[in-house]
């Protein structure tokens, strides 16, 4: 039975965690644990793929006598769970393979090894949980184990701060989820998802649950304005864990959102889509703007995760809007685009985090201003990371483009929506998506160009060495996955048809039977895209051009100093820096996004003082939302502090007054 196999896999992860506690200081322990994780993730992957592709129409379910005594723990493996199990375990297999090489450089393996399998177990368990109690326990377990990994290098003060903010936000998010499930289960305590699905809710309840889910799942996924923890926490963990948190854990949060909003809440109202689309579009643009001005390589990638989560939420919002208006075909298209982006993002974001880990190992630097020229000592890593940069910038023929293209096709179907609110917000969201895609290209030209091209800006960058072959193999497999998903998306779209069918009641037309393996969302005269042909055309044209040039043109080649208009400057400091690269974009978009202000201090002629450029930026969300909130909590805590220093008599009288007040309230309660 499939669900039992998945649960055995989760048990194997737990066993690995226990084993890691016992052996983590032993030599070779990290290899053993990571190899075990690869085996388990591939096993679960196989089970989930079998269930999704050729599984029975009836999802396999099991109830274990653990958890709440009168309910037990329900687990269920349906198409949605199987799809996300594939995403999670593909990511886990990649990260574990990478860690076989990267984990050797870990200074404190005993702080990473035990929590790593536990974190994987937590994510898997969330996906198969089928009652509110198990779901919340698994969710919390996932949060706590990832928190332990975030603070694994706890001696760096930045990491402790990141850990504190992360755990606070995670608790806040779980609180919202707890309230959402409380509302759904009702006073009778019908915690199992099957009972929730069948229940009839009051009119006001689903809207409230949606808001709570936007907070609970949105904070975990990184939806603005709840994203603040993500760029702090994801980079703090070791790079393979960063890849898992950014590429995979945010997807578990998206699973939670889909499970509750699409599956459990019943038929949607049209206005639900407005906050989802609005927040998603704002998150996409805000995330990529932050990424474009960020100097820390891993934090830049984390901000880009925020952007991609925004894109996925726009897709989910469009699907809600279409579903509410009975446009099943369009809803299936939008949901397929969102789900495909979930898979695509897990591929290229893991690849890029692995690349940042390779750079970190080779140079010890995360600040791109201190890197440069890494393409010379690390040519293979540079090639693989370049592929990831092209994929995440939504450029054909790689996979990022396919999901964005499908999303644009869904946007083009939305003039048929009857509501005015949607007619106005959807084109704006489409423009934001296009802006996000263009900015993301700028962001990754900057990241790759400054870190890998040019001349080394620090001795560490000059002394870099190519990373180990296992890490390169992991990155190579992910790049191959990016290319495969980009040129043959039809097979993936067909495979996820049962997932979409279960949520929407319709699915996209079958794609793998189209001529030449094109993808055709509605009709060929309307729109079609063929990644395979585009790839073949580009490859052929490039080969023909290169061949023709080499046959016909002069093959003479001479190395010489750079030309640079006749004034080459030998110092690497004369190169463009990351900050100077993003200066035009900061000036165009940053003036209202970050209140960026530039002040030039130019000394008058004759004054020998150096000229200075001051740039001030503000994080508006932090300053406007979190700083006042933290201030209010601090204020209240200071005021209530007197409670800590009272005499026994005062405490006794306080208890007595509280008791009397409670009794009084009960007495007058109607």
């Amino acid at each position: 039975m499939a669900i039992a196999a998945v649960l055995w896999g989760v048990a194997a992860y737990f066993a690995l965690a226990v084993l890691a506690v016992a052996t983590s200081r032993a030599p070779g322990a990290s290899r053993l644990i990571y190899a075990g994780c690869i085996a388990v993730s591939l096993g679960i992957l196989g089970v989930a793929a079998g269930e999704l592709l050729g599984g029975p129409a009836v999802p396999s379910a099991i109830t274990l006598p653990v958890g709440l005594p009168w309910i037990g723990a329900h687990f269920r493996l349906d198409a949605l769970a199987a799809y996300f199990l594939i995403v999670v375990n593909l990511g886990a297999a990649g990260a574990s393979l990478y860690a076989l090489g990267y984990g050797q450089h870990e200074t404190a393996p005993e702080r990473v090894l035990p929590f790593y399998p536990a974190f994987l177990a937590g994510m898997n368990l969330v996906l198969v949980a089928a009652d509110a109690f198990s779901f919340l326990v698994a969710w919390e377990f996932m949060s706590l184990s990832s928190w332990a990994l975030v603070v694994s290098h706890h001696r760096e003060p930045e990491n402790t701060r990141a850990g504190t903010i992360y755990i606070l936000m995670a608790m806040f998010g779980t609180l919202a989820l707890l309230l959402a499930f409380g509302l759904l289960s009702g006073p009778t305590g019908a915690y199992a998802f099957d009972e929730i699905r069948g229940a009839r809710h009051a009119d006001w309840l689903p809207g409230l649950v949606l808001m709570l889910m936007l907070i609970g799942a949105g904070s975990k996924a990184g939806l603005a304005p709840l994203h603040v923890w993500l760029p702090l926490a994801h980079p703090a963990a070791p790079s393979h864990v960063s890849a898992l948190m950014s590429g995979v854990m945010t997807k578990v949060a998206i699973y939670g959102f889909i499970r509750i909003v699409f599956d459990l809440l019943g038929p949607p109202a049209w206005w639900w889509s407005i906050p989802v689309i609005g927040l998603g579009a704002a998150t996409a643009v805000l995330g990529v703007l932050y990424a474009t001005v960020e100097r820390d390589l891993k934090r830049l990638l984390a901000y880009s995760t925020v952007e991609n989560v925004g894109i996925i939420f726009v897709g989910l919002g469009l699907a809600l809007a279409f579903k509410a208006n009975g446009m099943a075909g369009a809803a299936a298209l939008a949901l397929t685009a969102a789900l495909l982006h979930v898979l695509n993002h897990s591929f290229f974001k893991s690849l890029l985090f692995f690349g940042s880990g390779a750079v970190l190992t080779a140079t010890g630097e995360r600040d791109i201003e201190r890197l440069g020229g890494l393409i010379h000592p690390m040519p293979q890593t540079a090639f693989l990371v370049l592929g990831g940069c092209l994929a995440i910038s939504a450029l054909p023929p790689l996979n990022g483009f396919v999901s964005e293209w499908l999303l644009f096709q869904a946007v083009l179907l939305s003039p048929n929506l009857p509501q005015w609110g949607l007619k106005l917000i959807v084109p704006a969201a489409g423009a934001m998506l296009a802006l996000g895609a263009a900015l993301s290209a700028a962001c990754f030209v900057r990241a790759f160009g400054i870190a890998f091209l040019g001349r080394p800006r620090s001795p560490q960058a000059a002394a870099a060495r190519e990373t180990d072959p296992v890490s390169r193999a992991a990155m190579g497999l992910l790049l191959a996955a990016c290319l495969a998903a980009g040129i043959l998306p039809g097979f993936i779209i067909d495979a996820m048809a049962p997932v979409v069918q279960a949520q929407i009641g319709a699915h996209m037309p079958e794609q793998s039977t189209n001529a030449w393996l094109s993808i055709v969302p509605i009709a060929e005269s309307r729109s079609s895209y063929n990644g395979l042909l585009v790839f073949l055309f580009i490859a052929l044209s490039a080969l023909v051009a290169a061949e023709a040039i080499h046959r016909l043109a002069s093959r003479a080649l001479r190395r010489a100093p750079a030309w640079d208009c006749g004034y080459p400057e030998p110092s690497p400091a004369a190169q463009y820096t990351a900050d100077s690269f993003s200066q035009p974009i900061r000036r165009v978009f940053g003036e209202f996004a970050f209140l960026a202000r530039e002040k030039v201090d130019m000394p008058p002629p004759g004054d020998a003082r150096p000229a200075r450029l001051h740039v001030s930026t503000h994080d508006l969300i932090w300053d406007g939302l979190y700083a006042p909130l933290a201030g209010a909590i601090q204020f209240a805590a200071n005021r209530l502090n007197v409670l800590q220093f009272m005499t026994i008599r005062q405490y006794l009288s306080l208890v007595f007054v509280a008791l009397v007040a409670l009794l009084f309230i009960i007495a007058i309660w109607p």
């Binding site: 440069g372 040519p379 540079a382 370049l386 092209l390 939504a394 450029l395 483009f401 293209w405 007619k423 106005l424 084109p427 489409g430 423009a431 296009a434 263009a438 900015l439 290209a441 700028a442 030209v445 900057r446 790759f448 160009g449 091209l453 040019g454 094109s518 060929e524 005269s525 309307r526 729109s527 079609s528 895209y529 063929n530 042909l533 585009v534 580009i538 490859a539 044209s541 490039a542 051009a545 040039i549 043109a553 002069s554 003479a556 001479r558 190395r559 010489a560 750079a562 030309w563 640079d564 208009c565 463009y576 100077s580 690269f581 200066q583 035009p584 974009i585 000036r587 165009v588 978009f589």
Partner: protein, 317 residues
């Protein structure tokens, strides 16, 4: 037989854009010179320039990487494929459905990404400057282009250029939204092809250059390939305007050779007119300060968004 004819038409289209692109460049230079009361270089000068570049030796900067040597071919291939997918003399060619207009824009985005990256490869200040400004322009020009595409696609009910051309031929009428889209597309065309008022294609040794700054370190055959890609891009944008807004004369799918010939004549006439108008605009305006360009491109974005919004409000605009 029909298949062979279709494939031949597709191949002819690929070779046609390749052959015409330098001529178009030569024509714009000639017209510009005549408008400035100069004699100007001969029409065929770009071909001679390209030929001479391919015969010269490549002088490669000391620390240029493998990317620097591979990228010209990638830039050329992406641009060539994109240019070959825009209907020129005939619509509905065999492979025209492989990529719609969104994919064509994204292909140009791929070429741009490689171009900006190689600008930074040697590690000179000019290269980084060009790359940074190019990406800033692109961050506005690309969404503007996407909104223009949305406007056109909502009118024609398709993002396939062949279907759009067919729709415009049969149901085309004067619409507010299409006017907005055309104005936006002209702005984007000027910006994307480094024309005045955004950039100056004739400039060198100036702090204002963008495209030239990125390719400053290239020489010999590499420069020839990149220059060819730039010429193809100009041809692509003019063909795009012609195909969407002036589709008259374009041959229908599976037409007779005579219709293809008529389509070719119409296409050449449209290119000539388009290039002439572009040069006329260029000579009558001064180059902008660099931070005026975002406002110029922002206008294109707003025009595109306005067109899309109008169509969301009512399909009849």
């Amino acid at each position: 037989m029909a298949l062979i004819l279709d494939l031949a038409a597709q191949g002819a289209q690929m070779l046609l854009v390749l052959a015409l692109a330098p001529l178009l460049l030569g024509f714009t230079r000639k017209v510009k010179a005549r408008l400035l009361m100069r004699q100007g270089p001969p029409l065929l000068q770009p071909y001679r320039d390209l030929l001479r570049l391919t015969r010269k030796e490549v002088v490669l900067a000391d620390n240029a990487s493998w990317l620097f040597r591979a990228a010209p071919y990638m830039i050329f291939a992406a641009t060539w494929v994109a240019a070959a997918l825009v209907p020129s003399f005939a619509a509905g060619l065999t492979f025209s459905w492989a990529a719609d207009v969104i994919a064509i824009i994204a292909l140009l985005g791929s070429a741009r990404m490689f171009l900006a990256l190689v600008g930074m490869d040697v590690g000179t200040s000019f290269g980084g400057l060009g790359a940074s400004r190019e990406m800033m322009f692109a961050s506005l020009a690309e969404p503007a282009m996407m909104m223009i595409v949305f406007t056109v696609a909502l009118v024609a009910g398709s993002t396939q250029l062949s279907t759009i051309a067919e729709f415009m031929l049969t149901h085309g009428s004067l619409r507010v939204s299409l006017g907005l889209a055309l104005a936006g597309l002209i702005i984007v065309t000027l910006a994307e092809n480094s024309r005045i008022p955004v950039d100056n294609p004739a400039t060198h040794l100036e702090l204002t250059m963008v495209h030239e700054a990125m390719v400053l370190e290239y020489s010999g055959r590499h420069l020839a390939v990149i220059e060819m890609a730039a010429a193809l891009k100009l041809l692509l944008y003019l063909s795009l305007i012609a195909c969407i807004f002036l589709p008259w004369g374009i041959a229908a799918p599976g037409a007779s050779p005579a219709a293809y010939a008529a389509g070719l004549v119409a296409y050449l006439a449209k290119l000539t007119a388009g290039a002439f108008l572009m040069v006329l605009f260029e000579t009558s305006i001064a180059k902008m300060r660099i931070f005026r360009v975002p406002e110029f491109l922002g206008a294109a974005l707003m025009l595109g968004l306005l067109g899309t919004l109008l169509l969301f409000v009512s399909r009849s605009f």
